[in-house]
Structure formats: structure tokens, C-alpha cells
Amino acid sequence: MVVASWICLLAPLAAALAITVLGERISRRGAGYLATASVVGSFAASVVTFALLTGQAREDRVRYSTVWDWLGTGTLHFGLRILVDPLSVMMMLIVTGVGALIVGYSVGYMDGDEEERRYFAYMALFVFSMLLLVQGGNLLILLAGWGLVGLSSYLLIGFWQDRPSAIAAAKKAFVMNAFGDATMALAFFLLIQHTGSLDFERVFASDLSGNHWLVNLVALGLLGGAVAKSAQLPLQTWLPDAMEGPTPVSALIHAATMVTAGVYLIVRTHPLFELAPKVQDLAAGLGAATLVMAGLIALVQTDIKRVIAYSTMSQIGYMFLAAGIGAYGNGMFHLMTHAFFKALLFMAAGIVIHALAGEQDIRRMGGLRRLLPKTYLATLVGALALVGVPPFAGFFSKDSILAAALGRGWYGDILWGLGLLGTFLTGLYTFRLVFLVFEGRPSAFVLEHLTAGSHAGGQEGHRHELAPNEPGDEPASTHAHPAHVHVGEGPFSMTSTVAVLALLSLVGGFLQFAGLWTPVSDWLDPVARPLVDATGWQETASSVLAVAFGLFGVFIAWGIYSRKLMEAPSAPRLRALLENKLYFDRAYDLAFYNPAVALARGWNVLIERPLVAGSITGVAGGSRRLAGRVTAAQTGLVRTYVFALAASLAVLIVVFVSVR
């Protein structure tokens, strides 16, 4: 079991290293296959681990495996250790499963890109990092994985290196995540100081409950990391920009796995959070606020990927809400279903973008339903799952979260209300997207790409000259692809993986039906026992209302964007506010970046050059001037020399005689 999980962890790393080291000795396609194979292998290993773990008694399902002390000194030791328990196995399954699909999808999607090898190396590295995160056997290894996913995310967002916007987005993502890392590290320092360890079992077993400050600070620090990684308020601004990366990256990292790591963290460290209920409430509140805010902003986005990105943010808000109120099983379940349908949505969007030569502006799309029917279907499945329409996956997971919120008193009620509002917004923006893209008449732009001759469509798909100056034009391809012609909805590797995900989105929700059967929660129960348990009527009411709100949103969207029955309300102020993402970016610039730059410049001008560097030249100049004085006395006149002798002797005599 432990061996299997080590294999699971190391296979992608091996693939990444192999691709890097082999360089040009491996073909581009070979790199893709290698990466895919490694992740599939990891998935297989996870399955094996899962199978073996189920064979154990419930209490016996926590296993640690330490290779050596990764870092240590004196009595302080942090092992390089992994943890196999239900929670990590679940995450492993999600990560490797969805990962395998997405990496496989990439083989088709990235086909022909000049730097394919690099892409797959990064992807494999990411999977490794993510696995390290979820398998880490102590907080330090978790943090290592945490940082490494941030790194891979940075690398992949900035994959198209010659695009300034991509690079900027990558840096932004990394720096914000580094902030989160820092708060986590601070929390760890507190733990080290008070428990002398970062091992889960020792930290959780320590009695910290008496020290409110301590636990609150620790939980806050952890929450900071989680918020940064999961793009929740107030550290959410990097996620939309991260859409600069290739679409499969967005699917894997910025939808399915990495961004949900925050939820995983909260669930993993729930014993600490439970000691700090206020922070827990804060987490839930942040989740709720984010889900509403993201939903609102998604309404005005015009970039297909950004809409989905905000939706991701919003959905993670639900997960945070769940984790914050202690509905860990529900949160994790939503995490899983969300991975399915959100990956699906992204990949479907990827096909659209792929087909439209990198166009991402939904206003220039339309009528794709007939041109890309399979994609339309897939999108529809994903959208319905997202909105939470039964029997799609989202219905099962999201509604149970809302129900659980009702178990938390008045605060929970507010959260519940916000969650419901969120479902309405979800319906609205999701189907705004669907209708704008697929319904209606194909725009001239679309026709040019897809109907003018489907023989050329795929080939054109990577040509750049059609929209040379669009800021967001996707597969960046300044390089035309020579051999592979993607007709319409792309090669098998893409369509097949989308199909699998669609299937999962369709049926994945049946894994757990709150109130009736709860295998996911049960599975997780040994590691994360929920704090709340929704009653039957809460479940029912939530489900009904949520579906109703969601469908209402869909209806409105239908009215506005499909049938044009009504105008979208034009509240320009609000619109501007939303289009500028509530001015968070600008505020951060003003609050942090600009002062830092000003400080740096000011210090350079005020301290560095005049004082630090100038002091040397000042001293040197002063010495030289003094030296000039001294040598000026050296007149070359014998008289001066004799005089100096006589005068100093006179002084000497006077002093001697007077001191005696």
C-alpha cells in the first residue's frame, strides 16, 4: 500500500525529469505519451492504494511512511514522509484521475506546439507536486507540495513565454501564492514553538485549546495559505489572469485540482480549525462572499475562460463554506464533482477556442451548436452539473453543502442565503455563456473559421494572423502546425477525454446522495468527522430551492441571451465595478506594489546612493582634502622644516616644564 502510494507520487516526477534530461532525444509526441503514461500509472497506483486501504479496518486506515529526515536539527525533525489515509487517497484518485484525462487531452491539444516537451514536463511536475501536497505526511512536506504546485502553476501560466501578459499573470499568481505560503509558514513556526513538531498526529494530539491566541493565529495563517491558493477573497485576483495559460492547464490546475487545495488544507487540518471556531466562521464567510462576488463578476466577463474561472472561484466558495461550517465530507464531495464538471467545461471551451483559432471572446462567437454538436452536448452537461440541476453531479454535492449550512445557527442561515443567491447567479452566468456561444446565428467570424471549408478549419486553427492583436488570443501560435489537421472538434485524444468527463459529470453525483447514502462522507469520517449533519427537511428544502434558483437563473439567461426577450439591465456603474473586478487589482497595486516600488526608488535615491555609497566617496574626498592641507605645509622651504622642528620642540618643552 505504502509502496503503491510512493509509486503514485514518484512516477510523474520521474517522467518530468526524464523529459527534461532527454531533451531533444525524445520526440514531442513521445514526451506527451510519457507524461500521460506516468499519470495513468499514478492513477493505477492510487487505485491500488485505495483498494488496499479499503481492505483495512476503519481505524487502521492511516499509514505513515518516512524515508529520512528531510529537515532537522537537534530535537526538531521533519521527516520526508507520506501519509496514506482516506482523505489523501481520495485526493490522489481525483488528482491522478482527472489529471490523466487532462494530460491525455493535452496530447491532442498541444500537438504541434514547439515547446511541447516543456509543457509535458511541467504537467508531470505539477501532478507530482499536487500529489506531494495531498500525500505529505507532515505540514512541512505539505507546504513543500504547496509551494511546488504554485511553482508549476507559475510555469504553466507563463508557458507562452513571449507573451508579456502571460508572464505578468504567472508572476502575479506566484507572488500571491508566496504570500499564502508565508502566512502558512508563520503558522507553522507557531506550531513548532509550541508543539515542537509539524507531524500531523503530534500537532493534532497536542493540547493547544487553552491558548486562544495561538490557535486563532495558527488557523488564520493556514487560512491565509488556503485563501491564496484557492483564490478566495481577498487573494482572488490572480485566478482570472491565470487563464493566460493553455486551456488544459486551466482545466487541471485552475479548476480541478490545485485551486481546491485550500479546501483540502482546511479539511486536513480541521482539528486546528475546530479549536478556532471564529476562524472557521471566517473561512465560511469568505467562501460565501467569494461565491457571490465571483458569480456577479462572471456575469460581465466576455472571455470564455474567464467566465469559467470566476465560476470556479465561486464553486470553491461553496467548498470553503462547507469546510468552514464543518461539512467536510460534503465539501470534499463537491470538490470531486466540481473537478469533473469544471474540467469538462474548460476542455469543452478548449475545443471551442481550438476551433476558432484561439478566439476567446464570447461576443464574437455564436451558433456553434450546429457546428460543434458534440462539444455543445458536453458543455451542456457541464453547465447543468454546474448549475446543480438534477441528476447532474453538482446537484448532489452543492445542495448538501447548503443544507449543512442551515445547521450552523443564524450565521449558517446567512451563508445559506448567500449560497442560494449563488445558485441563481450560477444559472445566470453559466447559461449566458452557453447561449452566447452556442445559440443564435453563427457570427461571420465563426463562419469564416468553421464553415468556409472545414478542410482548412483545423489548420487555420493555429494561425495567428486572423486576430493578431487580440490580447487574449489563445494558443498563441505564432507557429503554424504542419502536419496534423484538426477537423472541427479535434482529435480523438481530446474528444474521448471530454466524453469521459461528461460521463463522470453525469453520473459522478450519484456517489453520494445526502440523506440517503453517504459513502464519501463515511469514507472520510475517520479523518474528518463532520461537525454538522443536515436534517432531512433541510436537505429537501435546500435542494428544491437551490434547483429553483438555479433554473430561474437559467431562465433569465435564456430570456436575455437566447430569445432576447429582455434587455440585460444596463447599470453602467455596477457594470464598470464588476468589469474591473471590484478594483481589487488596482487597490493592491496602490496598497502594495506602488509603495514597494516607490520605497525602492526612494531608498535608492535617498539612502543607497548618497549615504551608503556616498559615505565612502565622502570619506575618501575628505581624506584627500586633509591630505592636501598636510602636503601644503610641505613647502620645500628649509625654513619651514626648521621652523616645524623648533616650534614642536618649543611645545614639547613647554608641556614638559608645565606638566613636570
Binding site: T631, T635, G636, L637, V638, R639, V642, A646
Partner: protein, 102 residues
């Protein structure tokens, strides 16, 4: 013995020494400076001999004789230098000897 105290001789010697000092300090001709140096040495000699008389042993006189020889030596070298300079057509003025300075 009769006559003034040794102290007075020392005073005379001091005065003479000061005169010589002033000569070195103020004059520009190397010749005069050499002469002034002689005065200084002679002043010291006077002091030596006076003290020698005071203590009644002749060490000071011996010293004075040696100083005389030394003074003569200095004069020889000094005059030699002056002659050499004169032969190089250098102006005999120590204030003009300022190629070496700074």
C-alpha cells in the same frame, strides 16, 4: 673659584644658542646658515664647558673638543655642497631650493 656662577654661563650659552637658531630660521644664504649652525654648536660647547667646570671633571671639555671636530666636519661637508652647487650655477638661496616639495 671667582667669577660669575655657572648658571650665568648657561644663560649666555642659551642666548647664543637662540641667536644661532634665529639665524638658521631667518637667513636664506646657506653660508650664513652654516655660520649660524656653528654658533649653535659653540653655544652648546660653552654650556658643556661651564658644566664641566661646575662638576669639576673634564668630561664636558672632552665633549666640547669632539664637538669642535664634528662642527669642523659639518662645515667641510656643507662648504663642499655649497661649492658644488655654485659650480652647478645654482642660486645660493635656500628659499629657491624647492624642487623637492609636496
Amino acid at each position: 673659584m671667582k667669577g660669575p656662577d655657572v648658571a650665568w654661563y648657561l644663560a649666555v650659552s642659551g642666548f647664543l644658542f637662540g641667536t644661532g637658531t634665529l639665524g638658521v630660521l631667518l637667513r636664506r644664504s646657506p653660508l650664513i646658515i652654516l655660520l649660524s649652525l656653528e654658533i649653535m654648536l659653540n653655544a652648546a660647547n660653552l654650556a658643556l664647558i661651564a658644566v664641566s667646570r661646575h662638576y669639576g671633571h673634564a668630561d664636558g671639555q672632552i665633549f666640547a673638543l669632539a664637538v669642535m671636530a664634528v662642527a669642523a666636519s659639518e662645515v667641510v661637508v656643507g662648504l663642499g655642497l655649497i661649492v658644488a652647487m655654485a659650480r652647478r650655477d645654482l642660486v645660493l638661496d635656500v628659499d629657491r631650493l624647492t624642487t623637492l616639495r609636496g
